[in-house]
Point group: C2
């Protein structure tokens, strides 16, 4: 795979693995990786999530933005239970921002980002990518321990010790380009890069495939983000 | 779960997650965790390995040594390919110890221990374990990047940033009690702890369920270990 740089010299394109959930954040992250000139290998997971419409959204997003390949891996996180995203626990609704940030929410899936990144690392190794992109965001959602900058840095350190590439001196970088952005800033950034947010899916508890509930934490953060950005959210809400 | 300590006071037993592959090293590690007084949650993986007899061995080992529970998780690493343990690549035979340690072997599965430990971390979080045991060994098998002390330390650091337990100040420890032991030392240690090595499985390319090939790196290291320990290996070899 080759592309022309500013000097007109043809160089091999750098490859990156991008975790794509089908949500707003990962769609924006993929657009940023593409904008940085990476040939992207998209990676999604079927992990027993209740909102399986995510995977369909991930397919639409990668087709829209363009990738080298899209791998969907089955990982059953249900044996680990203890999360409203995989178990028969009610998804909390209508919480204020203070309530959302007060504690680690029940939608937290134990060690999920660690498991996702470990798989991304395996894919990076086999496709020769030295870069991994992850759409975590610490500003709007500080409740998840594995969305913090210190977590991302610790994983990057591990990645460089865990792999053949690291041992052989090819440095791996874990990018979390949204980590310091507010939801509104993410939406503005993605809109500038041409992301069609109508294709994305954010709801934790969608009443139908075509509707978002509008009341779970994820819907509320998304709606507030569009409002603060002064943009119209193109998806449809039940409430 | 309660047990009496030296003073006769009944205390709750500490829980540990132990990765059990069915091999000699992980059987010894489980015996050591049991010897240290842990209530053990054993974790094994069906990861598309060619030598699926491993899982049967893991079941025998945990039954023999005693655990609270044994979870077997399906993780398909075949999409990541590039390893003789999951692909149709020939397992190397009859290599000298120098040849074995000269480079990362084709039996290396990309990011495998990172993926296994990420799952162990999820289980530790849901069962309330603050300890994870892993049977990696850097002396006899320095070819795998994810068997080195620096890798284990980096994972422990990550684990304490990745989880609710870490955030709430319950420190997680990753134990790799074999990391500095030779294969002979591991076998002597396990024998003292009562491990029945007849139940374990080490071969990368077993000709039948009841026989080990005797010629792959894993068989050669095992046989040399028993010889150096001055003990008889109870399993049967084809060659």
């Amino acid at each position: 795979m080759y592309y022309g740089n500013d000097a007109g010299i043809i160089e091999p394109m750098r490859r990156a693995v991008v975790l794509v959930s089908g949500g707003l954040d990962s769609a924006t992250t993929l657009a940023m990786a593409r904008g940085d000139g990476f040939a992207c290998h998209a990676l999604s997971f079927r992990y027993g999530q209740r909102h399986a419409a995510e995977i369909d959204a991930a397919r639409r997003v990668v087709e829209h933005l363009g990738v080298v390949e899209h791998r969907i891996i089955d990982i059953d996180l249900r044996p680990f239970g203890h999360s409203a995203l995989t178990d028969a626990i009610d998804v909390p609704k209508d919480r204020s921002e203070d309530e959302m940030s007060a504690e680690i929410p029940v939608t937290y899936v134990p060690a999920r980002n660690t498991i996702f990144l470990a798989n991304a690392l395996a894919l990076a190794e086999v496709c020769g990518a030295a870069d991994i992109f992850l759409g975590v965001n610490a500003v709007d959602y500080s409740g998840y321990p594995d969305c913090r900058p210190a977590f991302v840095e610790a994983f990057e350190r591990l990645a460089n010790l865990a792999t053949k590439a690291g041992v052989e001196g090819r440095r791996l970088t874990v990018h979390a380009p949204l980590i310091d952005l507010t939801k509104a800033e993410i939406i503005i950034k993605g809109t500038q890069l041409g992301v069609d947010y109508a294709l994305t899916h954010s709801c934790y508890d969608p009443p139908t495939d075509a509707l978002a509930c509008g009341r779970c934490d994820s819907c509320r953060l998304r709606r507030a983000g569009f409002e603060q950005a002064g943009l119209t959210d193109p998806i449809r809400y039940a409430d």
